[in-house]
């Protein structure tokens, strides 16, 4: 993760990974990413409507070749049920931010103003600090954070991206893995050299 700055900017991609809801699954997935050197920006794990399945949402920077390797290597894990990339133009991506900022009566008003423009909630207030909550696309949260350059941030916490594609049940969740692979691997059919 920390090597991100040294690499050429690669496209940010969002991958949805449905795995067995068992202990050790997160360790298996993260160990694989670490071992293969996949460049992960964020990773969130959450429950789904099926108690036997967890959803891991991964944002990842890399080219087509790296993406294919990530999908195929992840698919090799016994705990993986489905893994697919989300279509960015057609996806809903959300992240939650909690931001604790140092403030007193002198600057409370201007902070309230920033919060109200971004529709962030003030969820805690003490004589010398304030906690803001904001939900939105990662870009919105990035933009929101630039507003606090002149303030003292005491603590900050972002959940990482969680995402779904628009419309009905995702087509990849209705097919066996082999068919998805054919969709994901266009290079099977055409010359890449």
């Amino acid at each position: 993760m920390d090597q991100q700055q040294n690499r050429p900017a690669a496209q940010r991609r969002v991958i949805s990974l449905l795995v067995d809801n068992q202990n050790g699954v997160l360790a298996r997935v993260s160990s694989l990413f670490c071992r293969r050197g996949f460049n992960i920006d964020s990773l969130t794990v959450s429950a789904t409507n099926d108690p036997t399945i967890s959803r891991i949402t991964v944002t990842f920077g890399g080219d087509e070749q790296a993406l294919n390797q990530l999908l195929l290597q992840t698919e090799r894990l016994e705990c993986t049920r489905q893994v697919f990339e989300l279509d960015q133009n057609n996806s809903l991506m959300r992240e939650l931010l909690l931001l604790k900022i140092s403030c007193d009566s002198s600057n409370r008003t201007e902070l309230r103003e920033i919060a109200s423009i971004y529709k962030a909630k003030i969820i805690d207030l003490s004589p010398d600090s304030m906690v803001l909550e904001l939900t939105g696309k990662p870009e919105k949260i990035d933009a929101f954070l630039t507003m606090f350059d002149g303030y003292e941030i005491l603590e900050l916490c972002r959940t990482g991206v969680t995402a779904l594609e628009r419309g009905g049940k995702h087509p990849h969740m209705q097919k066996p893995p082999q068919e998805i692979r054919a969709v994901q691997l266009p290079f099977q059919q055409k010359c890449v050299k």
Binding site: G24, A27, R28, S31, L32, R35, Q65, N68, Q69, L72, Q73, E75, R76, L77, E78, C79, Q178, R181, A182, L185, F187, Q188, Q189, C191, V192, K193
Partner: protein
């Protein structure tokens, strides 16, 4: 039927067709060993000197037969001693199930005596692993382990069983072993495209690896070679599929492959890669590998497609099925000019010089082949002797060459030879080729070969140095021989005798011929100490990252 965990353990082994396991007892597996004692007529247990030897033996058993090798070790150090063996099997896609004991579930996570988190340790070197926390899960977990080990791209699976689970009781019912599914994702269109590329090629080459043997695809591969008049080269894991002396057999490819094979791939207009993964020992420079060729890749593991080298057409599935699907679409071809060109390269290829007085590695191997025959099983350790074996052994038995390819595990050989000999019975000739460096690592298993009267012939290529590393130091490190000349005084003849085996020494080709013939008659294990020069090198050689233009021939 109510059974204890230990009884279930034995019942599922029998149900899965396991007749032999390798292992070493200890505190956490006492219940399992007690049950094995009662069932020694149903499951044979081979006790090794060290758990690592047991893991290599299970691996050798699997490589020699294609069946799943099984190893059992206790918790903590017993389990960690398996790690190298499991990683070796993982890198070469060998089906293996490793069982480890562990401390009782109530003691897990408390740094108890002989506790190790083996599930975490082996996560990256197994296809999958399990900790069984409830006796009710034991039978199905074991069944899943055997299924996973043999399905798709084969590999090792570990099942960790805490001690209280082996004592607990639950209901048990026998089940028939699950059918192994093969994942195939190719379609008719891809098969036709592949056939079209092969039919149109002027300078085609097949490049194949261990996947051909795993898939039992030797015959369809030979059919492809002859029908398309297509010469073939192979990786270390793919040796022994094609007949020697056949003009289509280009020999080994890669770092220590022959000139002809590497040249042919660099000049080819089509490379058909079957069950192989373009490793850095073959595609030394992935950008220049088969630069003039279109590449068709056939592999059972979709994650191998285009992993190291970009390919033009890829087919996912069992190599034997896919080749059989392609064959009917092929037209009989004769590539006269291409084959002539190859013959010309072969005439000028590297050839080692014979000697009457000194023992030369290739002459030792030639003599072994003449006496033990092409149907013997040859096992190697890792290093120079391994490369010489791959270059000069003329064996044709499928599963007749057992070597640690991917991980390159020194000390692999003796355990693997024990596994192979146990699997195939004492009527099968098993010859182990090793170096003095590799052999020193795990020669403790000599006691195992003696205990079980295994007539393994061990040929030690003794150059008194760590030859392969020394060769690199000669070529690339200005002859600064850092820690490769250990001045060991080991007398392998006496050591063999100390173990209860027969020991021989040979310093000339004539002596070797005589003592190998002696060893062939010996009903128990024999070690032959062959003194070779410390400056013997493995040639040809292409340095890492290089291509055919960088080849070292003298």
């Amino acid at each position: 039927m109510k059974l204890t965990g230990s009884q279930i353990f034995v019942e599922v082994l029998v149900e899965q067709g396991v007749d032999t396991i390798f292992g070493y007892p200890g505190g956490a597996v006492l219940n399992l060993y007690d049950e094995l004692y009662r069932n020694s007529d149903r499951v044979r247990h081979i006790l090794t000197a060290h758990e690592q030897g047991a893991s290599h033996a299970a691996d050798g058993y699997a490589r020699a037969t294609g069946r799943t090798g099984v190893v059992l070790a206790t918790s903590g150090p017993g389990a960690t001693n398996l790690v190298t063996g499991i990683a070796t099997a993982y890198m070469d896609s060998v089906p293996m199930v490793a069982f480890t004991g562990n401390v009782p579930t109530t003691q897990l996570g408390r740094d108890s005596f002989q506790e190790a988190y083996i599930e975490g340790i082996t996560m990256p070197i197994t296809k999958h692993n399990f900790t069984v926390r409830h006796v009710e899960d034991l039978a199905d977990t074991m069944r899943a382990a055997f299924r996973i080990a043999q399905s798709g791209r084969k590999g090792p699976v570990l099942v960790d069983i805490p001690k209280d689970v082996t004592a607990a009781v639950c209901e048990f019912e026998n089940k028939a072993p699950e059918l192994i599914r093969t994942v195939t994702a190719y379609d008719e269109e891809q098969v036709r495209q592949a056939a079209k590329l092969i039919n149109e090629a002027q300078r085609p080459v097949v490049y194949f690896g261990g996947g051909v043997r795993s898939a039992a695809g030797c015959q369809p591969l030979r059919d492809l070679v002859y029908k398309a008049d297509m010469p073939a080269t192979y990786t270390l894991m793919g040796t022994g599929v094609l007949d020697y002396g056949d003009p289509h057999n280009l020999g080994l490819i890669g770092m220590h492959g022959c000139y002809t094979a590497n040249k042919a791939v660099s000049e080819a207009d089509l490379v058909v890669a079957v069950g192989t993964r373009f490793s850095d020992r073959v595609a030394l420079n992935p950008d220049k590998f088969a630069a003039k060729a279109k590449i068709i890749q056939i592999d059972i593991d979709p994650s191998e497609l285009g992993k190291n080298v970009a390919v033009d057409l890829s087919l996912v599935g069992d190599a034997a099925y896919i080749l059989q699907a392609i064959l009917p679409h092929l037209e009989q071809r004769y590539h006269m000019r291409w084959m002539e060109q190859i013959e010309q390269w072969q005439r000028n290829d590297y050839k080692p010089k014979d000697s009457d007085t000194e023992l030369k590695p290739h002459q030792i191997i030639r003599e072994i082949c003449e006496q033990a025959g092409p149907e013997a099983v040859y096992v190697t350790d890792v290093g120079q002797h391994q490369m010489w074996a791959a270059q000069y052994l003329h064996h044709t038995k499928s599963r007749g060459f057992i070597t640690s390819g991917g991980l390159g595990t020194m000390g692999f050989g003796y355990g693997a030879a024990i596994g192979a000999q146990v699997a195939l019975g004492n009527d099968q000739r098993v010859v182990m080729l090793t170096g003095d460096g590799s052999f020193h690592m795990n020669l403790n298993e000599g006691c195992t070969a003696v205990s079980y009267d295994l007539p393994i012939i061990t040929v030690i290529f003794n150059n008194q140095v760590l030859g392969m590393v020394r060769q690199w130091q000669t070529s690339f490190y200005g002859k600064r021989y850092s820690n490769t000349d250990p001045h060991r005084k080991t007398d392998f003849v006496k050591l063999a005798e100390a173990f209860g085996a027969k020991g021989y020494r040979a310093e000339t080709p004539e002596q070797f011929k005589a003592v190998f013939a002696e060893a062939m008659k010996n009903p128990g294990p024999s070690w032959i100490d062959c003194r070779i020069g410390k400056d013997e090198r493995v040639l040809p050689m292409i340095p890492g990252g290089g291509d055919i233009n960088d080849i070292i021939m003298k």
